[in-house]
Amino acid sequence: MAMFWEFFTFEMKFRFKSISTYIYFLLWAVFNFLDVASENFGPIGNNNGKILLNGPYANILNDIGVTFFGLIVIAAIFGTSILRDFQRDTIQILFTKPISKFAYLGGRWAGSFVATVFAFSGLLVGEFFGTLAPWADHSRIGPNHLSWYLQPFFSIVVFQIFFMGSLFFLVSALSRKIFIVYLQGAAIFMLYIIGVNAFGATRSLEHFWSAIFDPIGLRYIDAITRYWTVVEKNSLLLSWSPHVAEGVFLLNRLFWGLIGVLALLAVWKFFPMSVEALTARSSGKRAARAREQDIVEARPRSLVAARLPIVHQIFGPGTRFAQLASLTRIRVANILHEVPFWVLLLLMMGIAINNGYFAGKLADRNVWPVTYLMLQSVEGGAQLFFYIVATLYAAELIWRERDTQFSGIHDALPISETTDWFSKLFALCFVELILLTVTMFCGILMQTLSGYYHYEIFQYVKELYFITFPQILTFALFALFIQTVVSNKFIGHGIVIGVFVITPILFNFGWENTLYLPGQTPPYIYSDMNGYGHFAAALFWSIAYWLAIMAVLAVISIALARRGSDDAWKSRLGLAKQRWLRLMPAVSVLVLIVISSGCWYYYNTHVLNEYLTAKDRRHIQANYERDFKKFENVPQPKVVAVDANINIYPERRSFDGNGRFVLQNKTPQPINQIHVTNQFQSVTNVKFDRPFHAVSSSPRNLYTIYQLDTPLGPGEKLDMKFDVGYASHGFKDGNERPEFAYSGTFFDSSYFPTIGYDNNIEIDDPRRRKEEKLPDQEILPHRGDAVGSVTNLFTPTSDWVTYHTTVSTSDSDSEGQPQIAISPGYLTREWHENGRHYFTYDMGDVKTLDFFAFLSARYDVTKEIYQGKENPISIEVYHIPQHTFDVDDMVAASKAGLTYYEKNFSPFQFKQYRIMEFPRYRTFAQSFPNTVPFSEGIGFIGRLEKPKDIDFTYFVTAHELGHQWWAHQLVGGRVEGSNMLSETLAEYSALMVMREKYGNDSMHRFLKHELDGYLRGRAGEIRKERPVVLVQNEPYVWYQKGGHVLFTLADYIGEDKVNLALRNFLLQNRYANANDAQSGAYPDTRQFVEALRAQTPPELQYYITDAFESIVLYDNKAVSATVTQTPDKKYKVTLNVQSHKVSADGNGKETPMTLNDLMDIGVFVGKKNEEKPLYLKKEKITQANQTFEIVVDQMPTRAGIDPYNKLIDRIPDDNMIDVTKQ
């Protein structure tokens, strides 16, 4: 024991004398300090405005992150503790002394353990000091609970150090190579990322085993906390109890604790107390080879020296080239001869191939792995390696001659520093090009394997060699420079990685300017419609600018290159002076490029365009709200007719035109002021058909007030004319308007004048509002509110309008192709004039929402006529030629939807339904009257591999079609809950269309995803969750929950009953205010609930209260199920089930409810997830624990309560259980 103590204290002394221990400590302290003190730093800060920054959930998340990124620190401390003896050869002294294995290994291990725990305890200190930072957001910092600090620290961090450290210790002790230890660290890191990605991409909702075998925690944290509400996140710790979350955390810790113990046992058992490592056999081979050499050596040889031949030395440009080639070759060979490069390459390929496999598997659907998606996957995975290799090998190349002590020979060779430096650069470029090319082949390989053969090699080349490569080059030049300047390779690594890491952080802090963020390029998005499109120019100039800056540093690196044995700065500067003269011309040219590209970039981004940071933009929004919110309820006339002439110039990403609104005073009072919001500064020259003058305007012309000389009487109409347009100039520093593209223009009515105050401009993120010192955002008023009730939810400035427009586009766009221009309405006239193509669209008599859009692109058109109930309906899909994958599907979904909706709700009000593709700069589909722009990012490349796959395109198409009823026929007032009248009902409609296609059984899987989406959504709620019919701005409520509960209601009371309720509700309330001269009330969810209740039997009325008017959660569970054979050859199942029901408030605080609920009780045959019902009946559940006896004809396999997850349940998987024989 004394000896153990000796080794232990020695290790401790060593560690605590070493500066690195304190650096690690400081690193974690700073990390957690910023997590608390800066909202823009950690995962929590950025996440949810109500989760405490020093609360338990924040600590858990930070601790897991730290143990993940801290793997390398654990490896560095544990891995080196034994290796030290081998590296310094103290082993020969040590092992010849009488020491026990236990003392030696145990002492070293324990010392490392304590030192590592100390290093990581920086977290606690940093966090504590973070809570004291005066500038931190103290509304998100709670009192410091010791247990919130220590419990996660011990159960996550210390535990992790124990088993990970032991694993590293094992590997290092047995292999005795630091390289293998780091390799192990890197491999765990990479494999873990691969594993988590792969698992995520399977879209499995499995949460048990994946959580237990997770060594880091990202899976178990998801399994345990994915549905935690704000209240829970601010009070619960990860429990070691076997009853919480199925004991996942306990089992995980037991499993990995066992691994740790086994590692220690293995090290104790297998560690040889001798100079020879376990791997001694291979060194034996090496010795044999050396012996062989000696034998050769011993052959007798003449002692007389032969004359050496005469050679000629030539020095000229040719030789310089030969020198460069030879040096580059040797340097490349040096890299390729080493194992680490191949390991990195293999890991990179592993990640690229793995990611590539999932390229076509997006979050909720399968698509064809088109090249931009494949590139996104393979390059996204490989990117980190490009930078790791640049960082590592820049250092290796700069230091190689010194590290290998070859510099004595090398530096005295007749080569110029420039030649030498370029050989280093070229070697690095060569290696990077290998990586890039391998990445490309991985992409092509994975496209081939997934059956996509439309190879776009040119796109790969453009992306990898012309966009990514110059950026890596920029980074590599910087790394080469840093390594030249610093006195130690590792300091260099620190600086290079530091700059790499700090750039995005600075960006988050509002330092967004490409011109001063090292190596930054503005973001770009590739689109199949548009290629690199308008992003190319900014990309080119930013790359040129940074490349030139780094090239200047490169020249300085050449001047400062170490040569000879004197490293003192004095002599290096002396040498630099000697070299400078030759380098001056290059520097001048490069500086010229920096200045000219920088100026050009500045001119484009700051002069031609206004430069605004994200914060500036929010400030403009906030000022708008501060200045004009007071006018929100000033009575304004409504738009009743829209007529516009719009000319789109796609090649210039611009449009111009003019418009005419007919305004009508639908209030009982005269109106003498007209307020106009001009959000995008696109409106000019506003004129009214009677005398008027502008009263006031505002900066940016955001808000102008016009005084009418004679007031507009009640019911009276007024013509308003204006010019409208937007012109793109040059390029911007990011933030390009997505509405304008060379092909795929899509802008909507927000470019037109908005009458009155527009509350869509308000900032809605509570954190950002706080930053701007704005009060909490006003929520939608209560149902029945005097103003809200008479205001249209979607278009507050209007009730319903008639619509007419003429829109034109180029006959010859930037690629010389003709484009098609589209706007809602029926095409009534079409002609060519002056190289432009004109289209007149008219909505006829059908009134629509004041909500319209203009599109222009190079389209192919697929048309089909569907015989509707009252008219033939033209279904049209506008898409680019290569995106034909989904077109038939969209047409089919449209037909199915039309059939179902016309049958169950009301006739379709239009004679056409058009879907048009737009570039994936924005990813949504939006329903305008008979016109649905659909992003290429969420449709058009969909793919169904198995018949069971969920057809997302089909679903979205049906959903958007649903809006032609639920929004374009029936719209609610601007009060709470009204959003569900369009979104929930469109979601429900689409679910029903899906059910028609897939049948009831497949809907279970689909609904489980809806349920998961709802539960995750409420866990991330930043304001308060609301019940469905009181929903404010909670998409997870109006989509997932709304769809789910209405679908369940259809199951409980019958689909026909629900549809009848909807039909009644629709027919009574559609087109509210369409023809009135004075705005009356719009429908709201009270009428909706009434309509549902009218069709619901008394015993199920409670469900409407629970599901629509409250937040209710169930915790149902099948406890046991046994079967016995009855005398008459039947099977009697005894099923014991548990049930709990709670109601939750908006923060997730729960109160138990008494049970008196109908739930499915079912007995099934078939294996898990493929069950077929033998028995399914709704039973009244009144007890927390109930037992059922059910007799079935067949031998059952599964049984349970609410087996189809029709009710909202946070653990849906335990509702069924295997039936066991008694």
Partner: protein, 293 residues
């Protein structure tokens, strides 16, 4: 070729004065540089080999200023540093070809001939395709010699070249050096006195950055002829007694007894016998004299 070193001084940042106003002229021959560890030999050689600049002084190689016309000097230079490493996993053949290209031997036939001749000469032919990193110390040293002799250098600087060579290889190396021919300046730094005696027409002894002696080994030997006396004593006490009375040049252990060499103009007394003077005596006496001053 002649190398003129004038007034060379160098002080390192840590205060060590490696060279103190050192001047030396070296002609077209082999020149031996003797000195104890830390004498400044390596500093001097690195300065001549263009690897570092002195604080003051100048170095001229014929018409070339070594301190400013480094590239020109490097073209005619063959340099073997005292300690050097190699790129791992690179064969001697590859490496010599590479270095030959860097030294401007662009003609492939010539290059191949030279590389092969050197590999033969340094007895590395059989191991030419093996990775340098697997070479033993002696083999590595021979590789160093081979690379220094590429491109028929006019100025050869070899720092401790025979360290680590077995006697046979050492002889072979010395033969090789001496066969390189005329019109070449060779500076050979060593602390093995015999290397110099066997090889160098002229030599210098430096210590503490100063020149102690410069001349032909034979002259130096002549100046000591008849002044070196030897005596064998058995115990340490006797040895100590001799040290206090006489100017002891060196002692050697011979069969457990101390053989003491003493410098004196005439026989120092009983038990001493006259012995042939050796270069080593010159070396030790010069160092001892400097220590006294």
């Amino acid at each position: 070729m002649a190398l003129t070193i004038t007034g060379l001084s160098k002080t390192y940042p840590n205060g060590v004065r490696a060279l103190k106003d050192l001047s030396l002229t070296i002609g077209n021959h082999m020149f031996g540089l003797l000195g104890p560890n830390g004498a400044g030999k390596s500093t001097l050689m690195r300065t001549v080999a263009t690897l570092q600049d002195p604080d003051s002084g100048s170095v001229q190689l014929d018409g070339l200023n070594v301190l400013t016309q480094k590239d020109e000097v490097r073209r005619v230079l063959g340099y073997l540093p005292q300690e050097f490493g190699v790129y791992p996993k690179m064969s001697a053949l590859d490496m010599l070809h590479h270095l030959a290209i860097l030294k401007g031997i662009t003609n492939k036939t010539e290059r191949t001939q030279m590389v092969e001749a050197l590999l033969q000469q340094t007895n590395l032919w059989d191991a030419r395709k093996k990775a340098l990193s697997t070479y033993s110390g002696g083999m590595k040293q021979r590789f160093g010699i081979a690379q220094a002799l590429l491109a028929n250098p006019k100025l050869i600087i070899v720092d401790e070249p025979t360290a680590g060579l077995d006697p046979a290889e050492r002889n072979r190396f010395l033969n090789l050096l001496s066969s390189i021919g005329s019109n070449v300046t060779v500076i050979l730094s060593t602390h093995i006195v015999d290397d110099v005696r066997e090889l160098c027409p002229r030599m210098a002894i430096i210590s503490n950055g100063q020149l102690l002696l410069e001349g032909a080994p034979t002259e130096a030997l002549n100046s000591l002829r008849g002044k070196i006396w030897s005596k064998v004593v058995a115990t340490d006490d006797e040895l100590r007694a001799l040290e206090t009375t006489f100017k002891v040049v060196s002692t050697h252990l011979v069969g457990g007894l101390h053989e003491v060499r003493v410098h004196a103009d005439s026989s120092p007394g009983d038990g001493f016998r006259a012995v042939e003077s050796e270069l080593e005596d010159v070396y030790f006496l010069n160092l001892a004299n400097q220590a006294k001053n």
